[in-house]
Amino acid sequence: METKEITILLVDDHPSILRDAVNSLSKYKHVKMVTCTKCDEAFTLIKRHQNTKPFDVLFTDLSFNNNSQQQIKSGEELINQIKKETIPIKIGVITSHEEINRIDSVLQNQNPDAYILKSEFFSDELYVAITTMLNNRIFYSQKVHLAINKKMRIKYKFDKVAISILKEFVLVDNIQNLVGIILKPDGSIFKKRSIEAKLNQMRTDLNVRNNTQLIIKAIQLGIIDSPEL
C-alpha cells in the first residue's frame, strides 16, 4: 500500500538539530524534508509553495540567535504570521525551552499542534508527532504533558468554584440543576451561563472534549477525589 507523500519544513538555527531530525526521519521514504535556518526564509518558502506543492507540516524552534537582521525574529512571530494569513499548515514547536512559563505562553498564544522538547528528542517521537498532527490531534512531549497537567492541577486545586462545580456535577446530570448550589465566595448564586463558561474554560485547559472526560481528567489529575459510589 502506497502511503501519501508528506512534505515537512524544519527551521532551526542549530545545524546539529537539523541533521538529527533529517536522520531520524530518513527511514520514512514518503516523508520529504526541507530545512532552513532562518524564520524569514521559512516564511518565504511556505508562501512560495503554498499554491504549487504546499508543506504539510512546519517544525520550528522558538529562540533564534541569528535573528538580528531578520523581519521575523522568533518562532512565536513566525507562527503568528502564518496564523494571521490563515495558511493551512500543521505547526509543531521543537525547542529546548522547558520552563513552564514559556510553554504556557506558547500554548496559550500560539496554540501549536505539537510542542516537542529537544531534551526529550528521540528518533521516533518526531514521526509520531507528524502523524498525530495530521490526524488533527495535538502532540506534546512527555515532560510538557506533565508540566501542563501539574499546572492545571495546581490551578484548579485552589479554585474553590471550579472544584465545587466538578464535585456537584458528578452528582447531577444537568447543568440547570447546579444553579443555586454553586455559590460565589461572597455567598451569591452563580448563574447557568457563568457555570457553563467555567466548564468550557476547564475543558479547554485540560484539553478534553466533553464534561464526562473533564470529570475523569480532573480525577486523574487529583483536582477532585473520585466520588464514593
Binding site: 520552563e99 513552564i100 499546572k151 495546581i154 485552589f158 468554584v161
Partner: protein, 626 residues
C-alpha cells in the same frame, strides 16, 4: 382824494381778497415761476420733459409742471400732472419722490381748501423730509404745516412752525432765499391775522427788502399787498393806496390762468376808477360790480371761508360809508340798506358757526392724530426701555460668561501649573527610583557573580581535577544545572503581557510544588489583576518567588501558604511557612529580603516580617493602589 376813498377801500379789499386767494404753498422752482410767469415756465418745463430719459427725472418734472399749474390757479391741470408723477413714484419707490408725492398732494389739497387731507400729507411729507435729511425739504414741509395751521387759525401752533421754518430757512445752502422770504411773509400774515399790526409790518418789511434784492416778484407781491392792508387798518389810507398802486404792475407781470387774469383785470379797472378826478354814481356802481365779480371768481370753490370773507369785505365797506363824506353816499346806501346788512350779518353768523364746527372737527382730528402719535411715542419709549433692559440683561449674561471664562482660564492655569509641578515631581521620583533600581541591579549582579564564582566555578574546578564520569560528578553537574536555572529565572525580566499574572503565579507554584513542599493559595482569582498596575504585579510576583526560594534554601518548610486580600484601595499579600524560622533581632538579612523591602517601599507600601524560631516565618506586604 377823499371823494375816491370808497373806491380805494374797495381796491384794498379786492387786493386783500387776491392775496388771500393766492395763498398756495411754495417750493423751489424755476426762475420763470418765481417771477410769476407760470405759463411760460410750464412751456419750458414741458419742452425739457421731452429730453428726459430716466423715470426719476420724469417724475420730478411732472411734479414741477403740476406745481407751476397750481401756482397759476389751474388746479385741475395741476392734478393731472401730480397724478402722472405719483404713478412713477409708485414704481420707483424713492424716498425723495415719496416726499414730493406727499408734499404736492398737500399743496393740491391746500389749494382745494381741503385742509384735513392737506395736513395729513404735509405731516407725511415732513416724515420723508427728515428721512431724506434734506434741509430744503424740511423747511418746505414745516412751512406747509405752518400755513395750514395759519389757515385753520391755530395761530400758536402756526407761529411755532413758521418760526422754526424761518430759522431753518437761513441755513439753506446755495443761497436760495425764497423759503426765507416766504417764511417772513407768512409770519407777517400770521401777525396780521392776529391783529398785531406792528409785528406784522416788521416781518413784511424784511420780506419786501429781501424779495426786492432777490427779484422774487411773487414774494414781493404778497408782502406789499398785506402792507397796504395794514396801513388801511391803521387809518393811513394814503400810504396804503400808494402801496396798492405799486402792487398793480407786479400783478400785470404775472401769468395767471384765465380766471385769475380776469381777477387781475378787474382789480386794475377799480384802480383806474379810483384815479379819476371826479367820481360819480356810475363809477361806484362799476367798482362794486367789479368787486362782486372778483368775489364770484374766487367763490367758484364755493367754500365757507371765501363766502365769509366776501361778506366781511362788504360789511367793512358799508361800515366805513359814514366815515367818508362822499357824493355817492346815497348810491352806496342803496347797495347797503338795513335789510341787506341784517341779512349779511345773519349769513355771517351762520357761516361763522359752521366754520367753528368744521374747525372744531378739525381740531378733534388734530387732537386724535396728536393723541395717536403720543401713544405711539409712549409705546416706542416702552419698547426702547424694554430693549435697554434686554441689552442690560444680555450684557449681564455676557459678563457672567466672561467671568466664567476667566475663572476657567485661571483654573486651567492652576491646573497647568499643578500638572507641570506633578511632572517635575514624578520625574524626580522616577530618577530616584531609577537610581534605586540601578543600585538593586548592581547588587543583584554582584550576588549572581558571587554565586557563579562560589558555586559553579568551584564545582567545575573540582570536576576538572577529576574529569571522570562518577556519580559524585553527575551530582555536581546537576547542582550546577540547578544554580544556572535559578539564576536565569532571576535574571529574566518579568512581564504580564503574554502570560497573565494569575497564570505566572500558578506556574511559579507548580515549578516548586513537590512531595516535600506543599502549597496552598487563597483568593488569587478574586482579584481582577488585569486592572492592577504592572509594577505592583511585578513586585508581588518577585516577592513570592524570593520568599519561596528563601524557604527552600533556609527554612526547611514543608508547606507554604500564600494569601491575597483585596480591600477597596489596597492589596495585602501574606506568605506563611512552617519552617524553622529565624531570630528577627539578629543582624542577618539576606540580599533577597533587602530587595523585597526596597521594592515595597518604592510602591509606597509596607513590608513586615515576623518569625518565631521552630514555628515558621510570615511575610506581610501591604500595598496601596494608586
Amino acid at each position: 382824494m377823499n371823494k375816491n376813498n370808497f373806491l380805494i377801500l374797495l381796491l384794498f379789499n379786492c387786493l386783500y381778497l387776491f392775496s388771500q386767494g393766492n395763498n398756495n404753498l411754495e417750493n423751489e422752482g424755476f426762475r420763470l415761476i418765481d417771477q410769476g410767469k407760470y405759463l411760460s415756465g410750464i412751456k419750458k418745463l414741458k419742452k425739457y420733459h421731452t429730453t428726459l430719459h430716466r423715470d426719476f427725472k420724469k417724475a420730478e418734472n411732472y411734479y414741477e409742471i403740476g406745481y407751476a399749474f397750481l401756482e397759476s390757479r389751474a388746479v385741475d391741470s395741476a392734478k393731472i400732472y401730480f397724478d402722472k408723477g405719483n404713478k412713477l413714484a409708485d414704481i420707483i419707490k424713492s424716498d425723495t419722490l415719496f416726499y414730493k408725492y406727499h408734499y404736492y398732494k398737500a399743496n393740491y389739497f391746500f389749494a382745494s381748501k381741503k385742509m384735513d387731507s392737506a395736513y395729513i400729507h404735509a405731516i407725511k411729507a415732513s416724515e420723508y423730509a427728515e428721512k431724506n435729511n434734506s434741509m430744503p425739504q424740511i423747511v418746505n414741509t414745516n412751512m406747509a404745516i405752518g400755513r395750514i395751521l395759519l389757515y385753520e387759525k391755530s395761530y400758536k401752533n402756526a407761529y411755532i412752525h413758521l418760526k422754526t421754518t424761518l430759522k431753518l430757512a437761513t441755513y439753506i445752502k446755495n443761497g436760495n432765499k425764497k423759503p426765507e422770504i416766504e417764511a417772513l411773509n407768512n409770519m407777517g400774515i400770521l401777525f396780521f391775522e392776529e391783529k398785531k399790526l406792528d409785528s406784522s409790518l416788521f416781518y413784511l418789511n424784511k420780506a419786501i427788502l429781501l424779495a426786492k434784492k432777490e427779484k422774487y416778484i411773487r414774494g414781493l407781491l404778497v408782502a406789499t399787498s398785506f402792507q397796504a392792508q395794514i396801513h388801511l387798518k391803521k387809518g393811513d389810507i394814503d400810504k396804503g393806496y400808494a402801496l396798492s398802486l405799486e402792487v398793480l404792475p407786479l400783478l400785470n407781470q404775472m401769468e395767471y390762468s384765465a380766471n385769475l387774469d380776469t381777477l387781475v383785470q378787474n382789480t386794475s379797472k377799480i384802480v383806474n376808477l379810483s384815479k379819476k378826478e371826479v367820481t360819480n354814481d356810475k363809477d361806484v356802481k362799476d367798482a362794486l360790480n367789479l368787486v362782486q365779480k372778483n368775489i364770484k371768481i374766487q367763490n367758484k370753490n364755493g367754500n365757507t371761508e371765501i363766502k365769509l370773507l366776501q361778506n366781511d369785505i362788504l360789511l367793512d365797506a358799508s361800515k366805513n360809508i359814514d366815515k367818508f363824506d362822499t357824493v355817492s353816499k346815497s348810491q352806496i346806501k342803496k347797495h347797503f340798506n338795513k335789510d341787506a346788512r341784517i341779512k349779511m350779518l345773519e349769513a355771517n353768523s351762520r357761516l361763522k358757526d359752521s366754520l367753528q364746527i368744521t374747525t372744531l372737527t378739525r381740531n378733534i382730528v388734530e387732537y386724535e392724530i396728536k393723541y395717536e402719535s403720543q401713544k405711539k411715542e409712549k409705546e416706542n419709549l416702552i419698547l426702547k426701555e424694554e430693549n435697554l433692559q434686554k441689552k442690560i440683561e444680555l450684557q449681564k449674561e455676557r459678563n457672567k460668561k466672561q467671568n466664567l471664562i476667566i475663572a476657567l482660564l485661571l483654573l486651567g492655569f492652576i491646573l497647568l501649573g499643578y500638572i507641570f509641578y506633578e511632572i517635575q515631581r514624578r520625574k524626580k521620583i522616577k530618577s530616584n527610583n531609577i537610581y534605586k533600581q540601578i543600585l538593586i541591579r548592581a547588587e543583584e549582579r554582584q550576588t549572581i557573580s558571587k554565586k557563579l564564582h562560589d558555586e559553579v566555578k568551584n564545582e567545575l574546578d573540582e570536576i576538572k581535577k577529576n574529569p571522570k564520569i562518577t556519580s559524585a560528578n553527575v551530582h555536581k553537574i546537576e547542582s550546577i544545572q540547578n544554580v544556572i536555572r535559578n539564576l536565569s529565572h532571576q535574571l529574566a525580566s518579568v512581564n504580564f503581557t503574554v502570560l497573565s499574572f494569575e497564570d505566572q503565579i500558578i506556574n511559579l507554584i507548580s515549578t516548586y510544588d513537590s512531595d516535600t513542599l506543599e502549597f496552598t493559595l487563597e483568593n488569587l482569582n478574586e482579584i481582577k489583576w488585569k486592572n492592577i498596575n504592572e509594577a505592583i504585579k511585578r513586585n508581588l510576583y518577585l516577592i513570592i518567588r524570593e520568599s519561596i526560594i528563601n524557604c527552600l534554601k533556609y527554612a526547611n518548610a514543608s508547606s507554604i501558604h500564600i494569601q491575597f486580600k483585596k480591600e477597596k484601595k489596597s492589596i495585602t499579600l501574606l506568605i506563611t511557612d512552617n519552617g524553622i524560622g529565624f531570630n528577627i533581632n539578629s543582624d542577618y538579612e539576606g540580599t533577597g529580603l533587602r530587595n523585597i523591602k526596597t521594592r515595597v517601599k518604592e510602591l509606597n507600601g509596607e513590608f513586615s516580617i515576623n518569625s518565631i524560631p521552630d514555628k515558621g516565618t510570615s511575610l506581610k506586604t501591604f500595598i496601596i493602589l494608586s
